[in-house]
Symmetry: C2
C-alpha cells in the first residue's frame, strides 16, 4: 500500500515543504491542506502548497488516508480534536513534531479510533510561515519514526516509504529515546542560542550596535537558530521538559569546569578540551550533515554581504 | 606615507591571508614571512603566502616598515623578543590578536624603542594553518584598531589605510573596550560552543553516532566554531580572563532564568524571550555581517551534502 490522499494540517515551513515535496516526488498523490490562520491559507493557495486548501480541518481530512499534523507541539491536541468527527477510520495519523512522547499521547487521546505513528523529520531552517517551505527540505536529512509497540507493520512500512520518497533517510526509534537524543542535538542548542543572544542584547557596557557590527567573531552563528519560530520552541521546551532539564544540568556542570579552568589559568585543561571537540565536526561533514566549506560556505569566501 | 615592506610573523589563517591580500590589493608592496614551524614555512613558500619566506624572525623584519604579529596571544611576547635586535627603529609594530590589552602590554615591553599600534580584524573561519588563508578574508569585515593614547597620527593613518586596502572597514577603539566587546561577540560564543560539543560527546544515554546523525536539528551550528584552533583559543581565554568571566556570569544567570521558566512551565516567559532574539539576526543580515539565505546558504537548500 501507499498513501494517495494526504491531508496536511498546518502550512508553515514543514507543512508547506511536505506539500511541495509530494507534488514533486510522489506524482499521482493528492494533497489537501488546512491552516488555522486565514492569511496563511490564502498564501498557501497562492504558492500551491497543497492541491486543495480547505476552510476547515475537517474538510481537509474527510477523504484522507494519511493526515500529517504540522502544528506546534502545544497545538496538536486541539487540532486533532477538530478532525475527530470527519477522519476516515482507516486513515493513519502522523505528525512532524520535535517531541514524540507528549505528541503521541495527545494524538492518541484525541483520535482513539485511528492508528497513530508519530514521525520527526530532522530538517528545517530558521524561517517559518507559508513562504518558508521548499520541496528539497528533506533531502539527505533523517526522519525519525517512533511507532508504538503495537503499530501495524503495513502502515509503518507505508509511512517509511512516504518519507523516503521525499528524500529522507528513515530511522525507527522509541519515543523516549528520540526525546533524549533531540534534547541534546536540537533543544539544548536552541535554548543556549536564545540565551546568549538575549545576554548580548542586555549589556550596558557594550551596545547592541557593537554586538551586531562585530558578530562575525562567532556570535552570528548563534543568531540563526535563535531566529526560529518562538511559538514552536516554547512548546518544545514545555513538552520535552525532563530531557531538556537533564541535558541543561550536564551542560552547566561542564561550563562551570571550563569557567574554573579560566579563573585558575589552567591552560592545559582548556587546550585538551578544545582539541577533542574538533573531531566531531569532521564526522558531521563526513556523514553529509553539514557543509565542509569554511564558514558554512557563507557568501563568497567570508564576504557574507554577497550572499 | 604608506607601508612598502611588510613583515608577517606567523603564517596561519590570518598571516597567510594578509600576505595573499597584500599581493592582490597593494601592488608594489613587498612582503616577508616567518613561522616558527618549519613545515608551515615550507608550505607557505609553496603557496606564496609572502614574497620571501625567511628562516628566522629577525631576517624577516630586518628591512620592514610594518611588522604584523599573527601568532596566538600567548606567543606574542616571545615572538617580539626574537626580533628586538633586528627591527628598524622606525618600523611600526602591529598584530591581529583577539585580545588587545594583554597583547599591547606584551609587545610594548618587548619592543620599547618602536611604536606599537595593535589591531584586530574581526574575520576568520574555523580553519587554521598555512592552507587556510585567502586574499578576500577581510572583505567587508571590521578591523578594530586600538592605538595607545599617545599614538603617532601619521602611523595610525597609514595602518588604517593598510587595512582599508585589504577590504576591511576600520574602527578605532580603546583596548579595554575592545576586550569587553569581543568577550561577548566572540570569546563567550566560542566557549559555549566548545562546552556543548564536549557535553554531547560525553553522554552515556545518547551515542556520539546519534549526535552526529541528527546534528541538523541545531547542534551542527555550534560545531563550526568549536573546530577552531585550540592553541589560539586557550590563549584568548587566559589573556582576556576578566571580561570573559564577567560575560559568562551574565550568561549563566540568564540561562538559569530560562531553566526556571521551563521547570515551572512559564510559557509566556519563554515566548517573550524567544521573540525578542529574532530582531538581532535581521540587523546582522542588514549590516552585511551574515548571509540571509536560509541555513546560511548551506549546500543546495538544506542539502548540505552537496556543498
Amino acid at each position: 500500500m501507499s498513501f494517495q490522499r494526504i491531508a496536511i494540517i498546518g502550512l508553515g515551513l514543514l507543512g508547506g515543504s511536505i506539500g511541495l515535496a509530494v507534488r514533486e516526488y510522489i506524482p499521482g498523490a493528492a494533497t489537501t491542506g488546512y491552516d488555522s490562520d486565514p492569511a496563511t491559507r490564502k498564501r498557501a493557495a497562492e504558492r500551491g502548497l497543497a492541491d486543495k486548501i480547505c476552510d476547515s480541518a475537517a474538510d481537509a481530512v474527510r477523504e484522507a488516508d494519511l493526515v500529517i499534523f504540522c502544528v506546534p507541539p502545544g497545538a496538536m491536541a486541539e487540532a486533532a480534536r477538530e478532525i475527530a468527527g470527519a477522519l476516515p477510520k482507516g486513515a493513519l495519523v502522523s505528525d512532524v513534531g520535535s517531541c514524540k512522547v507528549a505528541v503521541a499521547k495527545a494524538l492518541g487521546e484525541a483520535l482513539p479510533r485511528n492508528a497513530v505513528i508519530p514521525a520527526h523529520p530532522v530538517a528545517g531552517t530558521e524561517n517559518s510561515g507559508p513562504d518558508a517551505g521548499f520541496a528539497a527540505l528533506f533531502h539527505n536529512r533523517w526522519c525519525i519514526v517512533t511507532p508504538p509497540a503495537d503499530a501495524d507493520l503495513q502502515l509503518l512500512t507505508a509511512l517509511t516509504q512516504f518519507w523516503e520518497a521525499l528524500g529522507a533517510n528513515v530511522e525507527i526509534m522509541d519515543a523516549e529515546h528520540h526525546d533524549l537524543v533531540l534534547a541534546v542535538t536540537s533543544h539544548l542548542p536552541h535554548l543556549i542560542a536564545y540565551t546568549i543572544v538575549g545576554t548580548a542584547s542586555d549589556l550596558e557596557q557594550v551596545t547592541q550596535s557593537e554586538v551586531i557590527k562585530y558578530s562575525a567573531g562567532g556570535f552570528r552563528d548563534f543568531t540563526r537558530i535563535a531566529a526560529s519560530d518562538p511559538t514552536m520552541w516554547r512548546d518544545v521546551f514545555l513538552s520535552n521538559k525532563d530531557a531538556v532539564l537533564e541535558m541543561l544540568q550536564r551542560f552547566s556542570e561542564d561550563l562551570t569546569a571550563l569557567q574554573r579552568a579560566i579563573r585558575v589559568g589552567d591552560g592545559d585543561a582548556l587546550f585538551d578540551h578544545f582539541t577533542r571537540t574538533r573531531a566531531i565536526r569532521r564526522s558531521i561533514i563526513a556523514e553529509g550533515q553539514d557543509d565542509a566549506r569554511a564558514d558554512f560556505g557563507r557568501g563568497d569566501h567570508g564576504d557574507a554581504g554577497a550572499g
